[in-house]
């Protein structure tokens, strides 16, 4: 028996599997523990989509969530968004802070804004799509194993230490400036900073640029041309990215791709226990 309007609304939303949570009731942001408890409570009650409103820097949103769930975040999620996540899809309408996608195992993180530093730290799988620019050390130590293949795709530009200690997976930087009014132009900032791919020993960093990258390479990294095989790998991700953020796909072809890979199969093999093996 549905008595009042609110209950009816709630009932209907539940039928659709979606619930809204106000992360700052009366303008006072909830503690991150309380907010995450609320999210877990909603998921326990059978909702498969949670919309969070007025999020203001709460950390660890979506931590360790598993399964086919959806989180939509209006506001600014704090550090470690989607940490240890295994499957859900998180969409952020705005910027995110540092360490988003920390050690995530599977799932999708879509940021309609800027990303902070250390995005995708140690990611083991899943996709991280960021519309605009990101900070330092993005994709540090991401790794792949069999079918687990993390992808970090950045629409704008990155700064220093991109793909530091990378051990697998794929980082793509497009160097576009996707503005709020929908126009897409080439970014005025350099595609990446210095120490590019320093310490990389597996995986690929693909940069859409005609800039000279040789002077910016870190230890153990080398610039390669794009091979057909790599192109086949990156195309579906870029197509999906263009679709999500409404970028005309033809634009991607305006600049060449350069690939950063390790200088050899085991660039640091001799550094530690070379004599023992």
């Amino acid at each position: 028996m549905i008595e009042n309007k609110n209950q009816k609304l709630e009932y209907e939303m539940k039928k659709k599997g979606s619930i809204q949570i106000d992360a700052a009731p009366n303008g006072r942001p909830l503690n991150y523990k309380d907010l995450n408890e609320k999210i877990h409570g909603a998921l326990r009650n059978g909702y498969s989509k949670v919309v969070l409103n007025d999020v203001c820097g709460q950390r660890f949103i979506g931590a360790s969530l598993q399964g086919d769930l959806k989180l939509e975040i209006n506001g600014l999620p704090g550090n470690d968004l989607g940490i240890f996540m295994d499957g859900p899809r998180i969409v952020v309408n705005g910027n995110c802070e540092d360490q988003a996608g920390n050690t995530m195992n599977d799932g999708t993180l879509i940021i309609h804004g800027d990303g902070g530093d250390v995005i995708g730290l140690s990611a083991r799988g899943g996709k991280i799509y960021i519309k605009e620019d990101v900070g330092y050390r993005v994709g540090i130590h991401i790794k792949e194993y069999k079918q687990k293949f993390p992808v970090v795709l950045i629409g704008g530009t990155a700064k220093d230490f991109l793909g530091e200690y990378m051990a697998g997976g794929l980082i793509i930087v497009l160097g576009l400036d996707i503005r709020d009014d929908g126009t897409v132009v080439e970014s005025e900032y350099p595609i990446c900073g210095g120490e590019l791919g320093t310490g990389i020993h597996r995986g690929k960093i693909v940069l859409r640029t005609d800039e000279d990258l040789e002077t910016r390479l870190g230890v153990g990294a080398k610039v390669y041309e794009l091979k057909k095989e790599t192109e086949r790998t990156i195309t579906p991700f870029i197509k999906e990215f263009c679709e999500i953020f409404s970028i005309p796909y033809e634009m991607i072809g305006h600049k060449p791709f350069q690939v950063i890979k390790p200088i050899s199969k085991r660039p640091f093999g001799g550094n530690y226990c070379g004599n023992l093996i």
Partner: protein
């Protein structure tokens, strides 16, 4: 809050380490408008995940317009006896214009809250030594020699309020909301790696220079010995004090422009310098050679308040960007905000419908500088010598 260790850190704690993050915030109203402390409290308290209740502090610039020509000395004092001794000494070496308690709101059940006292002070005129220098020597002398007294700030028309507790507790204790300032700095948590004592909380101040810092200065020993050769005394058992003294040395004593001084503290790597134009190379290599021991090593992001010649807000992170710093500008370009996390700006948006024109991440090792009446001089995204009119004479020092 912890109601002990106001003016010194007991010997038994000096080798203890408590590790945690810090939250820093600050803003400047470029048009000189004075705001109450509400905004800065909101900006800082939203970063509660970055603090551990061991310390917090605020610095307000422009809070004493009626006494703006006198040095506002803020003290933490243990006992009435110590206070009498201190005031007697101040009366001897200079003129006390006004002497009064700093209003506080201590909980009723506390028997021994610190005596918070302020003195508006004017040193005696001397030909051989400037007034600023006299006050610096006075501060160093009191902090070193006076037991039970600690000077927490000594600038003109500004003041530091700090203590050992959570940021919201410190804000309530000192009634930060009642002060009006055109520039605020704030910090939560504690001097890195040091156990809590009141005087050791941020901001660190000397004359008009205040520093809030997130990170740790691993070059502390080198910096300290360098500063001691200029007569500074590092007595606080923490790394951040060297930043305050270095800013004082470089900007007040050596008259360096702010962007060049920050280049001395966080210089580009030699490998980057090699790729620059010849005259930039000469300038930077000479800065690095001259101020070799002033270079700050280790992870840090700092927000600095300066008063000379005009109130200036400076933000700087280490050159590898190991600590966060985010900047924002208000809709009509009249305020610049800096913080550890963008959440501080989001918080202002939530409660006051405050709108920002732009939010951005300054480059590592690149200063962001805003000055009252002049606007944003550097936005932290420039190349090292961009916007600087540089005239280079001579060759590289070896």
């Amino acid at each position: 809050m912890n109601w002990n260790n106001y003016t010194s850190l007991p010997e038994k704690f000096r080798n203890q380490r408590v590790f945690d993050g810090c939250g820093i915030s600050g803003y400047i109203n470029i048009d000189g408008k004075r705001d109450s402390g509400d905004q800065i409290i909101d900006m800082l308290c939203i970063l509660s995940e970055r603090e551990n209740g061991l310390g917090a502090g605020f610095a307000g610039y422009g809070i004493y317009p009626n006494y703006k020509d006198y040095y506002a000395l803020h003290f933490l004092i243990d006992t009435e006896e110590c206070k009498e001794k201190l005031l007697h000494y101040l009366d001897e070496v200079g003129y006390i214009i006004q002497s009064e308690p700093i209003p506080t709101l201590a909980p009723h059940n506390i028997d021994n809250p610190p005596i918070t006292w302020r003195v508006f002070y004017e040193p005696k005129k001397k030909k051989s030594i400037s007034e600023d220098e006299q006050v610096v020597q006075l501060v160093m002398h009191i902090n070193e020699k006076f037991k039970g007294v600690f000077v927490i700030s000594s600038g003109k028309n500004m003041g530091v309020f700090k203590g050992n507790g959570w940021s919201h507790e410190i804000a309530d204790f000192y009634k930060i909301k009642d002060y009006k300032a055109y520039m605020w700095l704030a910090h939560s948590r504690f001097p890195t790696n040091t156990p809590g004592w009141w005087g050791g909380a941020h901001p660190f101040n000397l004359l008009g220079t205040s520093v809030v810092h997130n990170g740790e200065i691993t070059s502390y020993g080198t910096n300290m010995r360098y500063l001691e050769s200029f007569g500074y005394k590092c007595t606080l058992f923490t790394d951040t004090e060297v930043i305050a003294y270095l800013f004082d040395l470089l900007i007040r004593k050596h008259k360096m422009p702010v962007p060049i001084a920050t280049m001395a503290l966080a210089p580009p790597l030699f490998s980057n310098i090699e790729t620059m134009e010849q005259n930039y190379q000469i300038a930077l290599k000479n800065v690095r050679a001259t101020y070799r021991s002033a270079m700050l090593n280790g992870p840090f992001s700092i927000v600095v308040g300066l008063t000379d010649p005009k109130p200036t807000l400076v933000g700087l992170s280490d050159r590898k960007k190991l600590r966060p710093l985010v900047a924002a500008i208000s809709e009509n370009d009249d305020s610049l905000f800096l913080s550890s996390e963008e959440a501080s700006f989001k918080r202002l948006k939530l409660i006051e419908e405050y709108n920002f024109k732009n939010v951005w991440h300054p480059k590592s090792g690149t200063a962001i500088v805003a000055r009252i009446g002049e606007g944003i001089l550097r936005d932290g995204l420039e190349k090292p010598f961009e916007k600087i009119n540089l005239k280079v004479e001579g060759a590289i020092r070896s």
